[in-house]
């Protein structure tokens, strides 16, 4: 069953200039995204910086007002502030930087009890404190930690507190926006495994946003690859890492450094840079960097073609990356 349905979501930011602050263009951060997330799964969202991952995450939660499109959560249309207020409690987000997302002047206890108070979940302060002390143990810290301030904790511990705070309102759905990119590798795994355990225990649904492909692979059931505001390929985790069909996903995955000095990189490295989201290229948005570009790519923007079970690809052609040649045109 789908808990989250996103249909043709667009979030554009106007660029204003001059004395009259006339709109002279738009930054098309999210430019027509379709997404379906099923209950209990982890949907990984990968892409390079500036591709619109975080804007998409925030637009889903209505933290940024989308320009157009539809977001449905558990069957309810939540576009618009009034609608979203009803389901705020059920959708939470954990941000990238645990140094910025915790109030330095609040103890851990008040950081954990405030959301419960706001949403009217606890009858009294002592009830809330009881729940908070259960939560803090659940995320692997001690009860004594409740009376401390954020600056007394390390990055990994702070991220645990942020997780506990998100869980304090008993959500069903959590967006994890780069939850480990501020942490060291030796600590990163602790937090990822904690998130996995909590998901199993509390039947949570995750959208896991990250630029780190190895981490996304570790966490996700399905993965969507974003490029310049659009999802260009979506598949199960196995399929995307073994048989990626979009040239961008293919090059993205082969660019990951491999922790093995004997590994020889067979693939060419993708040249060029991500174009500006203000002037998105015509046709396929990947075409200026794509080595397989044809005239059709310049004229026609590819839709998401089915390429197998649960596998969608926004590319006109089927490409054999081993032989570096196009096989067929998709219909």
């Amino acid at each position: 069953m789908e808990i989250l349905i996103v249909e043709d979501l667009k979030t554009w930011f106007p660029i204003k200039d001059g004395i009259t602050q006339r709109t002279i263009g738009h930054i098309k951060a999210v430019d027509g995204v379709n997404l379906r997330v099923r209950k209990g799964e982890t949907y990984g969202l990968v892409g390079e910086s500036g591709c619109g991952k975080t804007t998409l995450a925030k637009s889903i939660l209505q933290l940024i007002k989308p320009t157009s499109g539809l977001v449905r959560f558990d069957g309810l249309d939540i576009t618009g502030i009034r609608a979203v207020k009803k389901i705020r409690r059920r959708m939470q987000i954990i941000f990238q930087d645990p140094y910025a997302s915790l109030d330095p002047r609040k103890t851990v206890l008040s950081a954990l009890t405030e959301p419960m108070r706001v949403h009217g979940l606890a009858k009294s302060h002592s009830d809330a404190a009881k729940v908070a002390s259960e939560l803090i143990v659940k995320v692997g810290l001690n009860r004594e930690h409740l009376y401390r301030y954020p600056h007394e904790f390390s990055g990994g511990q702070r991220q645990r507190i942020a997780i506990a705070r998100a869980l304090s309102v008993e959500p069903e759905f959590i967006i994890l926006d780069e939850p480990t990119s501020f942490l060291d590798v030796s600590v990163q795994a602790q937090v990822l495994d904690l998130l996995k355990d909590l998901q199993r225990e509390l039947q949570l649904t995750y959208v896991f946003v990250s630029h780190n492909l190895s981490v996304v692979q570790h966490m996700s059931d399905r993965v969507g690859v974003m490029y310049l505001g659009k999802i260009v390929e979506e598949a199960t985790c196995d399929a995307i890492y073994k048989t990626a069909e979009h040239p961008y996903s293919h090059y993205l995955i082969t660019a990951i450094p491999i922790p093995d000095p004997h590994h020889v990189r067979k693939e060419k490295i993708l040249g060029g840079d991500v174009p500006s989201p203000v002037n998105i290229p015509s046709g396929c948005r990947f075409r200026p960097r794509c080595p397989y570009v044809t005239d059709k790519c310049i004229i026609e923007e590819p839709r998401l073609y089915p390429a197998g079970k649960l596998h969608l690809v926004a590319c006109h052609y089927k490409i054999n990356f081993n032989r570096h040649q196009m096989v067929t045109e998709r219909a």
Binding site: E48, S49, S154, G156, Q157, D184, V185, S186, V187, Q188, A189, Q190, L192, D193, K196, H211, L213, S214, V215, Q217, H218, C237, Y241, Y251, L252, I253, A255, I256, P257, I258, P259, D260, P261, H262, H263, R265, I269, L270, G271, G272, D273, V274
Partner: protein
């Protein structure tokens, strides 16, 4: 400058660095020994706060006012850097050691064009240009020529201009003539980092320090920059100190790897030897923490506990509170450096007997 016979460019000997803070003394580096040979790429790998960047700053003598060296010495081509005057040190930073930092935006001057900044890198050296007609590759490969061509004023600037364009081509920037006229804010992160690399190369350094140069870049751009750095290895005659938190990057680029933990070097070995048979418990655990896309695992491993506070570091071996193989002696004494054969060095009591 005369080269040392054993071929090492940079030697850190028993180096310790402290920082004075309101909370107390931070023991950022403790008895660090490190050596970089000629034409070698040495990767210094460790987690944040382990002292990688302090090492860079100490080599460059750019420690902040509250940081100071308590013991040890740094030798560049056999000469002690701590005995240099400020003026000599400035000279070394411009001609001998070139550093590329993590965030190119903060190190490029925002109000000058790339052309101005890149040309300056050529012109700082009094012996520029070496001769009237030489390709950029020849220029970069020549370290120091006994006689310099006397070219002055306008002509010198023109040669610098032409060489800048060639150099930007060499670092694979598209449309170098246009980039020359642009300001840093007009360039993307990858392009800026290429400009930084170009500026570092223009000074023909004998040591290149690359401090987390790809951390601010995306994976595909990171791959471009790293492959560029590797392809330039044969063009320039310099050793590279590559500082990174990512063992995978070190695996792909370095000849030797030094693993740092909490201000100590715990293990030094050739890249292949380190990955084949890591010796120190920290290195072993660190390797199991990195996710490998080719071999997905059900659970990642992590190292219990946290990185220690260096104001009050653990006694003995600094890794002992997190080490699964910690013994009584680890809490009392600091392990000495043991050569395990083939220059595989390790700081651990497990290998002392």
């Amino acid at each position: 400058m005369t080269r040392v016979q054993n071929g090492s460019i940079l030697q850190l000997k028993n180096l310790s660095v402290n920082f004075r803070t309101y909370r107390g003394e931070v023991r950022a580096l403790q008895n660090v020994d490190l050596e970089i040979s000629q034409h070698e790429v040495l990767a210094l790998v460790g987690e944040s706060g382990c002292g990688k960047s302090v090492t860079t700053l100490t080599i460059l003598n750019l420690l902040p006012p509250n940081g100071y060296v308590t013991e040890g010495e740094i030798l560049l081509n056999g000469l002690n850097l701590f005995k240099k005057t400020d003026e000599e040190m400035r000279h070394i930073r411009s001609e001998e050691i070139a550093t590329i930092f993590q965030d190119p935006m903060t190190y490029l001057n925002p109000v000058l064009t790339i052309a101005t900044q890149l040309k300056e890198s050529f012109l700082v050296r009094k012996d520029f240009p070496l001769s009237r007609n030489q390709t950029i590759e020849q220029f970069l490969a020549t370290k120091r020529s006994p006689e310099t061509t006397k070219v002055h004023g306008r002509q010198r600037a023109d040669i610098a201009e032409q060489m800048s364009v060639d150099l930007l081509k060499l670092v694979r920037l598209p449309d170098p003539e246009r980039v020359m006229k642009q300001y840093p804010f007009e360039l993307s992160g990858g392009m800026r980092q290429r400009c930084m690399i170009a500026m570092a190369l223009a000074r023909r350094p004998s040591l290149l320090i690359a401090d987390e140069i790809t951390t601010a870049l995306d994976v595909t751009i990171q791959a471009q920059v790293l492959s560029l750095l590797m392809s330039l290895r044969d063009t320039i005659d310099a050793s590279t100190l590559l500082i990174t938190h990512d063992l995978s990057i070190a695996a792909e680029t370095a000849d030797r790897i030094a693993v740092m933990y909490a201000g100590n070097i715990v293990e030094v070995a050739s890249t292949r030897a380190l990955f084949r048979s890591p010796l120190h418990p920290y290195t072993k655990l660190l390797m199991r923490c990195i996710p490998d896309v080719r071999k997905p695992k059900a659970r990642l491993e992590s190292i219990r506990g946290n990185v220690p506070d260096l104001i009050d570091p653990p006694n003995g071996c600094r890794f002992n509170p997190r080490c699964p193989k910690a013994m009584e002696v680890c809490r009392i004494r600091k392990p000495t450096l043991k050569n395990y054969g083939n220059d595989h060095l390790v700081h651990c009591f497990l290998y002392e007997s």
